[in-house]
């Protein structure tokens, strides 16, 4: 520290900030510094607030397993308490210069001269700033006098800690309701709601809280239309002055729990001058390969920088301080890249290769080095060799590496060697990854009648259709000679698209070109369509929004990019569903081919994206000599016939509209139970539990029914699985046959449970082992099948922590879905969207 200015100020004492501070402390010790050259500023009263806020006893996982930890602090998987204790011990032992209760409110300046304004009004000066404030944001404060009194809490650790107190809970969201209900078991609880209803809550919470409020025997009551105005402490208790609809009211209580949501950190970060690539909430600030933002001297690490796991955050903390000190070091994930590049036919250093690759791919040329590096680390690298000696040699080389890694679990990703001519994927496979060609050639053979063959070369990419629409691959992809490919998983790609405009527009553009080619001019070349592709527009609709209406004059058609559309026709007073359309289909083309009047109303079944093609562009396309105009006309007439016929069968339409209301417009594989065959034996649930570690993933008796068709609560394997969106360790995958499943790297964070709109994911402890079938049958030993709801997890299961569980459509069960094969009466069946119409069976 020179003249009151720190060399480095680290903001946020989460895993990233702690590790950074520890490194700075270490370097100070090496230099025998007399006073710390850095300061760690933490807004809360203790370290690692995000982890403090995990549920009590939560098992913290050290994913990804193949990444080594590089930090002066220790971190291994363990309970929340253990992890926090270890860090507490490290903080003390390494004399880290940390200041608690030092929330940074504003950061200004740049390298050499930063000023950080704290909540207390005090200013801290520093030459460099490391921002490690995570993504959780700070809880929104009450904003009234007394908001920071000791009895006013903004989170709740363990509701069972309090007994026979009077507790005021402020808020109307899910966390407020859940806290209030839990506390009301042994306390008098008053929930204070600013509005007259609980409109933001999930259904389950809503029912529970309303029932508790109206139940005179419960200890929960509610003040509607009420807001706290001031809080004072009086003789160990607190007095809250409230504005109620009947005027002012004073309530005396022991404690207040305020759950008012969080303030996302973005505004604060932008306030420091940091640029974000776009306005999307998921956007990540632009950073250099040294984690430096556009503000010189201001570094960003941890989850705020887009790295969602603790170990990554800690490694970056270490690295960033080394970088600031001018030390050049290879990042901790360097060896991972070595393994990934090991089998490539180039003899070059990792960094050189990275640089070379990036320059070879025009779309990635603009990416910053850090983002590209991250992309490659999360991807598979595939290399093809001519069969024979070369391929064998490469295989041997990889086998030697394998030996060196000595069966390390989990195995880091290594180069995947394939032979020339090998299939990369087949038409019809479900796949969500995205491929970039770094070298060589790849052949794509369309699976439709045209059977066109396209050869792609260095710098081009493919697989974007499945990535964007969630539908199966539409072509066979074959590796050519000596090709090198990067296969990037969906989550990584989406993250990149959200944070980089050039990547997004590049992928959008090629998607449009390829869709236009497929639909209208199968033999055209990309450059022929360049011009038109720039003129069509990408449209987005919310679920329920109307794309066009029956009776309108239409002047465009839509190609569905993702999501689905329901087409309805008026029949008397009713709207009859005549078709359900999905990604890749065209709607409204008749308007451009003969009958300009829309004969159906098109409504988005779920969130929908389309390519809208107007008349002039359409005419330009079909006037080319290679246009498949006959096919277009044939398909349009067929569509018109089908929808006219369907209009005459409203019984099918009503079933369809029920299915669409249930969100099945984005499903790929649904469990449907015929109530007129179901004897309620729950054999399906039992079979599910028995084939899945004792935990059933479906709830037969729940869900909605229409006539005899019952959709139980079970995963429907969405085209674009919502659950995958924010999984920190990327543990959710889609198998080639479409099953969406969770692997063992799940850290139990619960994001997927929240993100799935259909409530099919549950977090649960491992179930105890069951006695063998014979033991149970003959001696009635242990719990019977299907009783997993009531089991008591053993200590080992608790230590392991809860993990997300959902239907995997029996991806590992050779006999196919166990629920279906176990149903004695044939009531349970798995149904694909193409079979929806057949649900309206004629006779059985």
């Amino acid at each position: 520290m020179s003249n009151g200015r720190f060399h480095i100020a680290i903001v946020g004492a989460g895993p990233a900030g702690l590790s950074a501070a520890a490194r700075a402390a270490h370097l100070d010790r090496e230099r025998n510094a007399s006073a710390p050259s850095y300061v760690l500023l933490e807004g809360h009263g203790a370290h690692a607030n995000t982890i403090q806020r995990y549920q009590k006893g939560k098992h913290v996982m050290a994913e990804p397993g193949y990444l080594d930890l590089r930090s002066d602090f220790e971190f291994t998987a363990g309970s929340r308490e253990q992890v926090l204790d270890v860090w507490g011990g490290n903080l003390k032992a390494q004399h880290v210069n940390v200041r608690y209760g030092a929330e940074a409110r504003k950061i200004s300046g740049s390298r050499g001269d930063f000023a950080i304004e704290l909540g207390s009004g005090e200013r801290v000066a520093a030459e460099h700033v490391v921002l490690a404030i995570g993504l959780e944001g700070n809880p929104r404060k009450l904003g009234v006098p007394g908001e920071d009194l000791p009895g006013v809490q903004y989170h709740l650790d363990d509701p069972d800690e309090f007994e026979d107190e009077t507790i005021v809970v402020v808020g109307a969201g899910d966390s407020a309701i859940e806290n209030a209900l839990a506390l009301a078991k042994q306390n008098d609880v008053i929930i204070v709601n600013r509005r007259d209803e609980f409109s933001r809550a999930k259904d389950g919470n809503l029912h529970a809280v309303l029932a508790a409020i109206s139940d005179p025997s419960s200890r929960l009551s509610c003040l509607y239309g009420t807001q706290p105005r001031a809080i004072a402490s009086e003789g160990g208790r607190m007095v809250v002055v409230m504005d109620t609809p009947e005027g002012e009211r004073r309530i005396s209580c022991d404690r207040m729990i305020c759950r008012l949501g969080g303030v996302p950190p973005r505004a604060f970060v932008e306030g420091a001058g940091v640029a974000f690539p776009n306005a999307r909430p998921e956007a990540i600030p632009v950073l250099s390969d040294r984690y430096e933002s556009n503000v010189p001297g201001l570094y960003i690490i941890g989850s705020l920088a887009g790295y969602p796991l603790i170990k990554q955050a800690m490694n970056q903390g270490f690295d960033v301080v080394e970088f600031i000190h001018g030390h050049d070091l290879e990042p901790a994930d360097h060896p991972l890249l070595e393994y990934q590049f090991h089998g490539l036919p180039f003899e070059r250093e990792v960094d050189e290769l990275l640089d070379l690759f990036r320059r070879r791919i025009p779309m990635f040329a603009e990416l910053n080095a850090l983002a590209f590096r991250e992309l490659v680390i999360e991807s598979n690298v595939i290399a093809s060799y001519p069969s024979g000696e070369l391929a064998m040699h490469a295989e041997q080389k990889m086998a030697a590496l394998e030996q060196r890694l000595g069966g390390r679990e989990p195995r880091p990703r290594c180069t995947r060697i394939v032979e020339e001519g090998a299939t990369i994927y087949r038409a019809g496979d479900f796949g969500t990854s995205f491929f970039t060609i770094v070298a060589g050639e790849v052949e794509l053979r369309a699976a439709d009648a045209s059977g066109t063959v396209t050869r792609l070369t260095q710098g081009q990419f493919f697989g974007e259709t499945s990535l964007l629409s969630g539908r199966p691959r539409g072509e066979d992809a074959t590796a050519g000679a000596n090709c090198v490919l990067i296969e990037t998983p969906r989550r990584t790609m989406l993250k990149l698209m959200n944070s980089n405009e050039s990547v997004r527009s590049g992928i959008d553009w090629i998607f449009v070109v390829r869709e236009l080619t497929r639909h209208f001019v199968p033999y055209a070349r990309v450059r022929d369509l360049r011009d038109i592709a720039d003129r069509v527009s990408l449209r987005q609709y919310r679920a329920g929004e109307v794309v066009f209406r029956e009776g309108e004059i239409g002047d465009s058609l839509h190609i569905i990019r993702s999501g689905g559309v329901t087409l309805t026709r008026k029949a008397g007073d009713a709207q009859v569903v005549v078709a359900e359309m999905r990604g890749g289909a065209r709607i409204g083309d008749m308007a451009l081919m003969g009958d300009p009047v829309r004969r159906e109303t098109a409504t988005a079944t779920v969130a929908l994206e389309t390519i809208e093609l107007k008349r002039p562009e359409f005419l330009e396309l079909v006037s080319r000599d290679d246009a498949s105009i006959e096919r277009l006309q044939r398909e349009a007439s067929l569509g018109a016939t089908v929808s006219a016929a369907m209009a005459g069968r409203p019984e099918i339409g009503s079933v369809m509209s029920f299915l669409m209301r249930e969100g099945l417009g984005e499903a790929t594989d649904v469990l449907v139970i015929r109530d007129d065959l179901c004897i309620g034996c729950d054999n399906c649930e039992k079979a599910c539990a028995e084939t899945h570690e004792g935990i059933a993933r479906l709830d037969r008796s729940a869900g909605s029914a229409f006539g005899d068709i019952h959709i139980p609560v079970a995963c429907r394997h969405c085209e674009q699985p919502h659950c995958m969106k924010d999984c920190p360790p990327n543990a959710i995958h889609r198998a080639a046959d479409g099953q969406v499943f969770i692997d063992s790297s799940c850290i139990g964070c619960g994001n997927c449970e929240v993100n799935c709109p259909y409530g099919v994911i549950k977090l649960a402890y491992d179930a105890p082992r069951k006695p063998s079938l014979l033991n149970w049958l003959l001696f009635g030993r242990g719990p019977g099948p299907g009783e997993e709801g009531h089991y008591v997890p053993d200590e080992a299961a608790k230590a392991k922590g809860k993990k997300a569980r959902k239907c995997d459509a029996c991806v590992d069960v050779a006999g196919g879905p166990a629920c279906v094969s176990a149903c004695p009466t044939g009531a349970a069946r798995r149904v694909s969207p193409a079979q929806f119409i057949d649900l309206v069976a004629v006779d059985r």
């Binding site: 029932a211 109206s214 139940d215 005179p216 449907v672 015929r674 109530d675 007129d676 065959l677 179901c678 004897i679 309620g680 054999n683 039992k686 079979a687 028995e690 084939t691 008796s701 729940a702 909605s704 029914a705 005899d708 079938l773 049958l777 099948p785 029996c810 069960v813 050779a814 006999g815 166990a818 279906v820 094969s821 176990a822 149903c823 004695p824 009466t825 044939g826 009531a827 069946r829 149904v831 079979q835 057949d838 649900l839 069976a841 004629v842 059985r844």
Partner: protein, 298 residues
């Protein structure tokens, strides 16, 4: 067609197997036995007997197969379909095996037990084919849990409303809720017998004297009790409370009816298995003795 019933399974494939088995059984039976009487002792009898015994063991094996979840190759529905058709055919095969000779002995015991199992099985198929639709209709889209949740909510509301009424009404309503009967023993479930009661106390009765509860089947008595008070209400609030109570009690009556029907149907769907399975075990025992005795006294 995506869903098919267990009889329709695979175009009634196992019906044809069963028809075949019956035909072959008759053919074997028709072969002249020479001087011997037609019974289990002839070679024809042994042949039919072996087939029948193997079939019984295989039929009983369903209990195990059903619980071996996630097995490859066959579906439980296929097994049940075959079970049902071949099990029925067994009646013919076994009868022909016995040559219609029934007496008071261990051999006939096995036969009778088998008949009981088969007859109960036939009822089971009937129940499986007919009741599910009724269950669905009576629940009308709600699950049993939801019906119970409705009932509990109505109970709570009922108690609250009754609180505001005079003591007689309060006692009547509270006791009618407390003494509502649902389910019960197997017989009560199957017959949907309703032993609900409530305490009727009229205003002239001295305070503190206990009144015996009276029958309140289908909640009609308590509804009539409340309805009867209505015309005699003296205050506006009282009348409106009673009206609310009346509406609530009739709603509660209909929920109870649906629940009772649901329980009844669920019981009917299961009850036969309490005959089918234990008698199967007895049958397996009797069959073993039958075989043993036959060979011992050969």
């Amino acid at each position: 067609m995506i869903h098919e019933s267990l009889l329709q399974h695979r175009n009634r494939r196992y019906l044809w197997w069963a028809v075949g088995l019956v035909a072959v059984s008759f053919a074997v039976y028709a072969v002249p036995t020479g001087s011997q009487p037609r019974n289990g002792g002839t070679w024809q009898g042994y042949l039919l007997g072996t087939v029948a015994a193997v079939l019984v063991v295989w039929l009983a094996w369903l209990g195990v197969r059903k619980r071996r979840y996630g097995l490859q190759g066959s579906s439980v529905q296929g097994w049940v379909s075959a079970h049902v058709y071949l099990g029925t055919a067994l009646l013919v095969t076994a009868t022909l095996h016995a040559g219609f000779q029934i007496g008071w002995n261990v051999h006939s015991l096995a036969y009778v037990l088998m008949c009981v199992v088969i007859v109960s099985g036939l009822y089971g198929v009937y129940a499986y084919l007919v009741h599910p639709r009724r269950v669905a209709q009576s629940r009308a889209g709600a699950s049993r849990e939801e019906l119970f949740a409705d009932l509990f909510a109505l109970d709570a509301d009922g108690r609250r409303l009754a609180e505001a009424c005079d003591p007689e009404v309060r006692v009547a309503v509270e006791s009618s809720i407390a003494r509502t009967q649902l389910g019960g023993g197997v017989w009560a479930q199957l017959t949907a017998r309703d032993g609900s009661r409530f305490v009727e106390r009229d205003a002239t009765q001295a305070r503190g004297t206990a009144s015996a509860p009276v029958a309140n089947t289908d909640q009609t008595a308590v509804i009539e009790f409340v309805a009867a008070r209505l015309p005699r209400a003296t205050r506006r609030v009282e009348a409106s409370n009673l009206q609310d109570l009346l509406a609530l009690l009739t709603r509660r009556q209909s929920v109870l009816r649906r629940l009772r029907r649901d329980i009844q149907l669920a019981a009917a769907l299961k009850i036969w298995l309490y005959v089918h399975v234990p008698v199967t075990i007895a049958l397996l025992g009797a069959l073993a003795v039958h075989v043993l005795v036959t060979f011992l006294y050969w």
